[in-house]
């Protein structure tokens, strides 16, 4: 009855005839730029898709993808050897998003204090027009909840994986997922709030 979440696609971990993800990471840790190219070819689409869905302003998605892979290269030596790099990369992307949110928040706090007015809204405005109802609704919930929900429902990551990737307690993951679903359903179907 319940289809549940999508599993991480194991096929992504190894192309036919290609190196495994742990092999690539091992070479990357030694500074092999071909390995980075391979990793990018294998996962850029998934990372990009995650970031597009998770961010309100799609302009800097390219930069975030770029930074995700650079960060992965930098810490490749710490890769835990799991079969697929995908959750690990998505975790890095999510961390970068969180850092960016904090930086933007600081910027607007400074701006707000300087102008004594209302800080510029993070509402993406016109950009939302082009998005579907679900996407628009998604952008109305907080970024932390949005990222957690996307990691769970779209990327197919388990709650312990999300907790590890975001460096948060698993209880926080469960709370965020519950709140995200409730808010999303409230926005999409007013009058229905889902399970208490």
């Amino acid at each position: 009855m319940m289809s549940g979440r999508p599993a991480n696609p194991p096929a992504a971990a190894r192309d036919p005839g290609g190196a495994s993800d742990p092999d690539i990471m091992s070479r990357l840790a030694k500074g092999d730029s071909d390995a980075l190219g391979q990793l990018y070819d294998r996962y850029q689409q998934q990372v990009r898709r995650f970031l597009v869905q998770a961010t309100a302003d799609a302009e800097d998605v390219d930069d975030l993808v770029h930074l995700t892979f650079l960060a992965a290269a930098k810490i490749a030596g710490r890769y835990d050897g799991r079969l697929s790099c995908r959750p690990w990369l998505v975790g890095i992307a999510a961390q970068l998003l969180r850092r960016r949110r904090r930086a933007v928040a600081r910027f607007f706090a400074v701006l707000s204090a300087a102008t004594r007015g209302r800080a510029a809204s993070l509402d993406p405005g016109g950009m939302l027009q082009a998005r579907s109802d679900v996407e628009r609704a998604l952008l109305r919930i907080s970024e932390a909840k949005r990222i957690t929900l996307l990691m769970a429902e779209v990327e197919g990551m388990s709650c312990p994986e999300i907790a590890a990737a975001l460096h948060i307690p698993i209880g926080t993951v469960w709370t965020r997922l519950h709140a995200a679903r409730r808010e999303l359903r409230r926005i999409l179907t007013p009058g229905e709030g889902g399970a208490p």
Partner: protein, 359 residues
Amino acid sequence: MSGAPCPRQFEVEAMRDGRLGEVERASFGRHLTACAACAREARALDALAGALRSDPGRRGHADELHRWRERTRLLRAFDGSLVARRPVAPKASWAARKWLVWPVAVSALVAGLAILTKVRLGAPPAPPVLAASIQADQAAVWSRDSAPDNRERVVLQRGTLSIRVDHASFTGRLQVVLPDGELEDTGTTFTVSVEDGRTVRVAVAEGSVVLRLRGQPALAIAAGATWVPPGRSLPPIVPVSAPALGSAAPRALAPPPLAATAPPARGSRHRDPSLTDAAVDFRAAMALLRAGDGRGAAAAFAAFRFRYPADARAEDAAYLRVIALQRAGADGEVQRAAREYLQLYPRGFRRADVESLRR
């Protein structure tokens, strides 16, 4: 919306998120088959997840060209970070440095004066460092320049160009402007032909290119593939695993002098080009010859001789180019190619054969 809520409804989400233990999950699974409210809640959560997953990559999809640019940017940044991480030599002491002050100052002054003089006299700017090595056939009308954004541009109006870009030393972009569109190199070796204001053939030997013709979607052409416009039967696509170089026979190299502008052929970073690339290219040229694509083979042999002048097969390539042109029925070009062979290899093994072809 209707129906009484079930006290166990919260377990739907708990089960979805893996919060239930083995026994609880089995128990709730049985409950789910009997409880309409919980089943409805499960369907609602599934629908929500389905909506999130429905075509999530639609807007996130980047076209091939964009992806390639971003990939190049990433690898460049990574290479830069590796360079930055390398240990630097200890700084020279002041005692050592002070001897450098005067020579450096004088050199800077001389250089400044030289630049100023050149500018005043209207001297042409120094030729840009160009990374693509290009061979043009006799009919080719083309030009090349470089832009400040690390982009090299080749404008092809007519004829055939065989182009090789050494990405090991060139991190920029090469764009070929065609009468009916553009082509961007994302690989290393390819051939493009234009006739009557239309692109009629693109053959990729190594790497890949992206062809953008006006009014048509971008098309990525991979190594070993040959693109021809729909409805055009010639020349045939040659199914070779190794690269196939394009059509039209090149003659003496078109401007600018290739030896001056083209870096020596290099393969990818981890290959020995003298062993690997040459063998692959020679096989590809032979495959074209065997497939009956005389012009393509002639271009490939010419490219081979240009790229590997010191290779033991360079003379064979020069000779086979003559043969390929003869098979293609290009009599005028046969004469030129034969003359070239005799000039390059006056005591060559095939001298007698080639001389007989000139008569």
